[in-house]
């Protein structure tokens, strides 16, 4: 399994970005229901791994950070979700 996506917050961030072209920091903070500092740390890890991209822009003269899922991030998420499904299947077969 993908170690980066074992964190529920990071998995939630990737899931939020799956159906979006981009989402702002505040949108992700609202969705993840975590502190800004904690979210920032998780986002930095995903950016460093190349799973998401960060873009700084201005909206109504105020700075806004936007995040997009990269093809690498999408591929990793699919592989991770598949492995979780296989784990569930194996458990069901055993029981």
């Amino acid at each position: 399994m993908d170690e980066l996506l074992l964190s529920k917050v990071r998995l939630g961030i990737v899931a939020e970005l799956l159906a979006s072209e981009w989402a702002s920091f505040s949108a992700l903070a609202q969705a993840a229901q975590t502190t800004a500092g904690n979210l920032g740390a998780h986002l930095a890890k995903l950016v460093d791994a190349g799973y998401i991209e960060e873009e700084k822009t201005f909206v109504d003269r105020r700075p806004q950070s936007r995040y997009r899922l990269t093809p690498r991030g999408r591929k990793s998420f699919i592989a991770h979700a598949r492995e979780m499904q296989q784990l569930l299947l194996k458990t069901e077969v055993r029981s």
Binding site: M1, L6, K8, L11, G12, A15, E16, L18, A19, S20, E21, W22, A23, S24, S26, A27, Q30, A31, T57, V59, D60, A81, M84, Q85, L87, L88, T91
Partner: protein, 190 residues
Amino acid sequence: MNAPEARDNLEMVERIVAASTRDLSLCNVGAFFVIWGLFGGSVDLLFDLIRHGVLPATALWAEAPFLVIAIVASVFYGRRLDRSKDRFTFLHREFLNVLWVTLGVAIVATVGAWRVFPGFASGAIWTVASSIVLFFIAVHGNRSALIGGLVLIASLVAANFMRGVEGYVLAAGFFIGYAGFGLTEILSRD
């Protein structure tokens, strides 16, 4: 990771993705629908007023600045949908594609084929195109859009049976169905 954790994580992902693909909030572009609804309705209204001799034919020129305002507003709100929100979903992109394609085809049909669609046929095409846009929004769970689309279609059918006042009926459809929908979106803003 064990099986219960995997199930928990998969359920969370499913919940988040399902919520994202349902979210077609257009509250910050409601004015777009109000402006185009007022413009579309006023064109139909003006045509009938001119036909009935209430206004001179030159009154149609009054629509020119209104059309410019509507086009400028379209560009402005298109950019606003892309820029000022907290997120831009693939559903928003799909909506913009449907909107531009539908309006584009309607423009080509009514401006480029005016001989094929004379009189109120062009007004009817705009009603059909606008209802397609509203029904697209409606299938993503927006009841106001469904009502707006039904009002537009109802005005089209009513216009067919109310000879001599087609313009007034189509105009009412635009004012209530299209502009009305925009107004409800503006009012639904947090």
